[in-house]
Amino acid sequence: MPPTFAAVYCLGPTLAQLFMDPEVGIDLAGLIHGEQSFEWPAPVHPGDVIDATAEITGIDSKRGMTFVRLAMEAIRPADQTVVCRATSLMIVRAPA
């Protein structure tokens, strides 16, 4: 499995919840992916079922931009193995 396929099983399901939530009200056009880290403690295989969770670990605003830091963890419930830990910095620009 390509390592950054974690975009699909770790980042996709968690970030989508945050950024698609109308209550959060983020304009996708103003969204910038600033930084990304991944750790892969164990390999993922085709057919695995993976559960991903995320938490917002920091929010800062400066110069009209909001810096959202998130931490995610992806677990394979079948053997309770952590397969990925990730952190993301997403930058939300104010509407032009």
Partner: protein, 138 residues
């Protein structure tokens, strides 16, 4: 493929230079593969309307190419233990991304830490502050 042996890897060793030209077709395919269809990546008119020169590649597509570069040196995906970077400058369709990596330490457990990054053929440093860890063979 096996990882380089810890005894053969020295500080300053470099990842084999690795270049890929990223086209709009690649970006469209990545949007489908990743599920990230943000129009700044796939709709040139929309991208220009928000102040970009045109569509830009997904940062994670660039990071995937960087991971591929390191994994090729490391003897496979399973030997890449971690990877982090900053998305400093956008990569545009038609740009060639050039990935680099240099070993900065090897620990007693046979894990190498590399400084990694990527530039575009237009001279922009697109991925910066990059770090990777790789499991070497014993």
């Amino acid at each position: 493929m096996t990882a380089p042996a810890a005894s053969d890897v020295a500080i300053g060793d470099g990842v084999t230079p690795y270049s890929r030209t990223v086209t709009q077709e690649h970006i469209n395919a990545y949007a489908d593969a990743s599920g990230d269809h943000n129009p700044i990546h796939v709709d040139p008119e929309f991208a220009r309307s928000v102040g970009l020169p045109g569509t830009i590649a997904h940062g994670l597509l660039e990071m995937g190419i960087l991971a591929d570069a390191i994994a090729s040196w490391a003897g496979g995906n399973a030997n890449l233990l971690s990877l982090s970077c900053r998305f400093s400058k956008p990569l545009l369709p038609g740009d060639t991304i050039i990935c680099t990596g240099t070993v900065v330490s090897v620990d007693d457990a046979g894990v190498a830490t590399l400084e990694v990054g990527a530039s575009s053929d237009r001279g922009d440093r697109v991925l910066t502050n990059g770090r990777a860890t790789v499991r070497l063979s014993r």
